[in-house]
Symmetry: C2
Subunit: 137 residues, 2 copies
């Protein structure tokens, strides 16, 4: 993870479809080097995945979930990751245990997710924040 890697990552974060040839020109090296390094970064897990950020609905939100103390948060979060409209599931430190980041069509869809979470036996409470504005770093 040297400076060259970081510059490549910055470019890909901004636009993951940037061709290796163009990245190479920008950072002053060859296509093959960029290709090798990107491949290595993926292998090392630095790049978790190539993906898209979407705004399919009008509404993004964080649903903070508290589960009972004797629960395996790992398996709970694994199941929640499969729920529709869920972008991320984070196990976090702090008052709550799990945070769902969701991107839904409308408030009804968000409410469905909240309900679904609350209906879960292991879930003690939820707290929802609407994401009013998102800025990418």
């Amino acid at each position: 993870m040297d400076e060259l890697d970081r510059r490549i990552l910055d470019i890909l974060r901004r636009d993951a479809r940037t061709p290796n040839t163009e990245i190479a020109a920008e950072v002053g090296t060859s296509e093959g080097t960029v290709r090798n390094r990107v491949e290595r970064l993926v292998d090392e897990g630095v790049i978790e995945r190539f993906t898209i950020s979407t705004r399919t609905g009008n509404l993004k939100a964080m649903i903070e979930v508290t589960v009972a103390v004797d629960v395996d948060t790992h398996s709970v979060s694994e199941r929640m990751a499969d729920w529709k409209d869920v972008d991320f599931v984070w196990q976090v430190s702090g008052e709550e245990d799990i945070v769902l980041v969701v991107d839904a069509a409308d408030t009804r869809a968000v409410n469905e997710l909240i309900t679904r979470a609350r209906e879960h036996d292991d879930v003690k409470s939820t707290k929802t924040r609407l994401i009013l504005d998102e800025r990418l770093g």
Copy 2:
């Protein structure tokens, strides 16, 4: 935004490098159609950007920030988005006003961000959660 669009988005979310030809085969249409639709989805803003999710450091965290009531959270969050290691800046509803999602090398780097936030005149308080585990939806 029909079923075909949604299937294409699902595939791209899983791997944004999937060739149009492969997507077309999977959803049962032609390369051109996939290309047209992806282009349209980008134009409509449904796809915000092609990007990578990274784990450059060992530590991800959420820094929840409360700012003074008379402050323009918009401009504050805009500046914070430029800070190093910051992936997202969200303006949110709820007790706190802004949430920073950060990906840092170590606790020291996270602490630097917290300090930087707290030194900001407009920031009244911060609350940090470590992200112990991340699962992609």
